[in-house]
Amino acid sequence: MNSKATERVLALVLFWAVAAAITYVFWWMGKMSPGDTSLLVTAPNFSAVFAYWGLFFTFFIGLYLGMGGGECFSCTLEGEQTFSPEVVRKACGTAIAFVGTAVSVMLTTHFAQYGLPEGSFGLNFTSGSQVLSLLPLHWGFVWLVFVQHLKLV
C-alpha cells in the first residue's frame, strides 16, 4: 500500500476511533448517574449516537482539516514550514468552532427544559436527557459550517 492510501486508511480509522471514544464517554457519563443502566447511550440510540459522531468527525477531520488527502492540510504538513498560514488558519477555525459549540451547548441546555418540571432550567439526567449525547455534535456542525462557509478565518 502506498503512503497516500495508508494515510487515507489511517484517517478513516481515526474518525471512527474518536467517534467510538466519545460514544463511550457519554455511555460512561450516563452510567455515573443514578440507576443501573446508562441514561445517555441506551440500546435504542447507541447506533445513532455512534453514527452521528462518526459523521461529525468525517466532516471535521476529513473535509474541514483535509486529513487523508484533501486539498491543503496534509500537504502543508509535508512542507518545510510546520506552522504555515494554512495550519494556523485551520487551528483558528477549529478554536472558534469549539468555543462556539461550548457556549451554544451551555446556553441551550440552560434554557431548554428537557424532562424538567414546568418553569425550571437545565438538563435532568434522570429523565429525558438522552439528547445531551447528540447536542454538541449538532452545534459543532453548525459552527464548522459557519466558520468554513462564511470564511471567518
Binding site: 455511555w27 447511550v41 453514527a51 473535509l63
Partner: protein, 139 residues
C-alpha cells in the same frame, strides 16, 4: 434554463425527495408517531432527510451542473442508501452485546429511533463519499 431556475429546481427536487423519504419511513413504521413520547422527532426526521438529499444532490451529484454522469451517480446513491440500511440492521443486531438492553420486537416500540438511525448511517456514507471525492473525483 437560467442558473437561478436550475438552483430552484434542485431545491424543489430536494424537498420532494425528503417528503417521499419521510413518507416511506412512516409506512415502514420506523418513526415515532403522534404520542407524548414523540418529542418532535418527526420534525427532526424531515430536517435530516432534507440535509441528506441536499448533500447528495448538491455535494455528491454536484447539481446544478452542465454535465453529470447520471448513471454512475444514481448507482452511487443506491449504494449509499443500501450501505446505510445494512449498517442500521448490523448495529441493531450487535447493540445488545455492546451496551446491553433489548431491541427485539416491534421496531416502533423496541427501536423507536430506527428512522433517525437509518438517516445517520446514510449521512455517514454520503459524507464519506464527499471526503473520498475530495481526493478521487471519479467516485
Amino acid at each position: 434554463m437560467s442558473r437561478t431556475a436550475a438552483k430552484i429546481g434542485v431545491v424543489g427536487v430536494v424537498v420532494v425527495l425528503a417528503a417521499i423519504s419521510t413518507y416511506v419511513m412512516h409506512l415502514l413504521e420506523w418513526t415515532v408517531r403522534g404520542s407524548d413520547t414523540a418529542q418532535g422527532l418527526l420534525g427532526l426526521d424531515i430536517c435530516l432527510w432534507v440535509i441528506f438529499w441536499t448533500l447528495c444532490l448538491t455535494g455528491y451529484w454536484g447539481l446544478p451542473a452542465e454535465k453529470v454522469p447520471m448513471v454512475r451517480k444514481a448507482i452511487g446513491t443506491v449504494v449509499i442508501l443500501a450501505l446505510g440500511l445494512a449498517f442500521t440492521y448490523l448495529f441493531k443486531a450487535i447493540t445488545p452485546a455492546i451496551v446491553g438492553g433489548d431491541v427485539s420486537g416491534k421496531i416502533s416500540e423496541a427501536y423507536p429511533l430506527m428512522s433517525l438511525t437509518y438517516i445517520a448511517w446514510s449521512l455517514v456514507f454520503v459524507m464519506t463519499a464527499l471526503w473520498v471525492g475530495s481526493f478521487y473525483s471519479k467516485l
